[in-house]
Symmetry: none
Subunit: 204 residues, 4 copies
Amino acid sequence: MPRNPERDQQLREQRKKLLLDSALQVIAKRGIGLTSIQDIAKAAGLSVGNVYTYFSSKDELFSELLRRAQTEYGISVTLLAELDEDPLLKLRRMCAEWLALETNWAFTIILQTVRTNEMVPADIRQAVTDRFTANLEPVADIMRQGQRSGQILNGDPLQLALYFVSLIQGLTLQQAPGYVIPVPVNPDDIVRLFEAKNTHAKNI
Amino acid sequence: MPRNPERDQQLREQRKKLLLDSALQVIAKRGIGLTSIQDIAKAAGLSVGNVYTYFSSKDELFSELLRRAQTEYGISVTLLAELDEDPLLKLRRMCAEWLALETNWAFTIILQTVRTNEMVPADIRQAVTDRFTANLEPVADIMRQGQRSGQILNGDPLQLALYFVSLIQGLTLQQAPGYVIPVPVNPDDIVRLFEAKNTHAKNI
Amino acid sequence: MPRNPERDQQLREQRKKLLLDSALQVIAKRGIGLTSIQDIAKAAGLSVGNVYTYFSSKDELFSELLRRAQTEYGISVTLLAELDEDPLLKLRRMCAEWLALETNWAFTIILQTVRTNEMVPADIRQAVTDRFTANLEPVADIMRQGQRSGQILNGDPLQLALYFVSLIQGLTLQQAPGYVIPVPVNPDDIVRLFEAKNTHAKNI
Amino acid sequence: MPRNPERDQQLREQRKKLLLDSALQVIAKRGIGLTSIQDIAKAAGLSVGNVYTYFSSKDELFSELLRRAQTEYGISVTLLAELDEDPLLKLRRMCAEWLALETNWAFTIILQTVRTNEMVPADIRQAVTDRFTANLEPVADIMRQGQRSGQILNGDPLQLALYFVSLIQGLTLQQAPGYVIPVPVNPDDIVRLFEAKNTHAKNI
DNA sequence: TATGAATGAGGGTTCATTCAT
DNA sequence: GATGAATGAACCCTCATTCAT
């Protein structure tokens, strides 16, 4: 199989993805502060020096990790919003999926770390914040859909979206592995907070 | 003004408080992982070595910082719960106060960081989690009060308390200084999520 | 000359040996308590951080240093014991060789320091003590050989070995470079202490 | 009781002695490397700063400690040498006393540390070595007495004294607390090494 | 490209010594 | 004199990054 620029580029992308996935795994286990390039390289089965072939710095790797995760999340929530389905069910699915994946926990931590850490370059912080804000839109859409059908509370849909996402993220952060708060968490109960007041009355 | 043991002790306490306050400021800016003893000492105007006159290690300082903040918060929310006042108003107050103080922002970040950071020793993490859980109780009490008067949603009060606190903390984390998400946050709207569905209808 | 794993391993071993030799030199001069990684690195012409590429900690380096020295000594004294030679001559040789080499002086100092220094972790101390005790055996063998031929004093051979080794080590310690005690030291005279009382003249 | 210069001087001497004794105790327990001014002060029930009222530096304290110990030892061994007693018995007593006191262990370690450590100022090292050499004299005297009575081996008495003292010190160093070499040590057996060859024959 | 040794800055911590009270 | 807080240098160790092979 002869080398060609296209195939090289493909391999490069594969390696980058491998490194990013490995990074997320390690961070999920060790926490962001204890994750070194060494750890990531080992988890990916590459050498330390080789990591720098694909990412110019640790910051760039983390930044790229966030970019991809946020983009993926944005796509997935946009698709969800566009589904022809009960809005409340959509919220429930978001909630359940988010709380289920352990990697989301790591991702949320990285997100917060980057957004609250002044050591992170301003442009990266800005980019992360912008994507976060943009990703509120599809959630706000779901809220709007629910409001139209009278299933979801009135009020600024963007605000509701922010509350919903903040609640989920807040809960995610409580789930530090091994130190769980002894209170059950239930997607249905969470979604219920956003249901319109007279839902039941109506139904009855 | 000659020295005496009492005055010495007083000065000691003052210095400890100064260091803890400085630490809070710095951590809020840099994040816990990047906050060095050097930073704290500089912020407090002391030498690095002198920090160890008051705290035997960085861990102890952080642990003490959290202990104090959580204890203070616990007392304040307990007092709030015991007030003879509209439960919804109590929630509103909690919410407003929490989102108003910048120190709460720093404190929330530290709290989350400690609970999610493997660099923090396990026993400290456990202690923090335990206090966090204990501090849910007064909030659950408020929920119970509201449920008895029909003002607050039915369901496990402890769970509702966890949701409420998580939501506030989640929102707090979004408020990174300088990179605010362009969505207004309103305590009344937040409390509304926890109101009983047919409150108004009933009352009317 | 391209790199390959074998050659890498070889270089690694060379570097380790270089570091251990440098450490021995420095410790001999400064004493174990005042020898820093910095000193060792400088003596070896390497950077401080690089030392940790080869040894995971200062303790491990010291421990390895002792392990090698004691193992080498054990082999050499075992070989000596097995020689087909006059036992008294064997003792004389041990004595002369030991007092002659300056590295033995350094080694003795380290040995004693480790065994008497609470800064050294307990397990390392135990290992050193165990090897020291084991290395008494070959010397005791020599004593037994001499006792069989009536050339060496009666009594517990292990005890005699301990006395012999302690005497040599005690003398070694007196030989601090530049501050020598003005008393001549003579291997023959030392060995004479262990000769049987009425050996030759009387028996013949 | 009014102050007067004489009494002040007395108190000063008492405090110095207290500090030196405390230092020896602590060193015997912790080892020289782990003994800090703080430890010594605490053991003596004084404050850290106050130690510097009596000794200008840690080095001076250690140096003074050695000076006193060596002087005391010198006096005691001189008295022993002048006793009208069997020379072999004298050696036996020296040996037994030396190996019995735990503080002698600490003292021997300090002695060796100072003599083999180039960080110690040259003049202190020289002084220690000189006193050590001087203290060999009384031991040599005992040897001479024994040689005159035919009880002790022939040869340079000073050399024999050095061997005897080195042997005792070597054995002392083996007795690191908690890591004892499993070989019994017996003063009688040690003295026997220095007995004249045909002692028994003669006696019989 | 791939490797991992090498570097150097920085972090936590200790401790002899000084100094204001 | 007595106290213990304050200082600053030094120590061990880690880790992002570079570089020779």
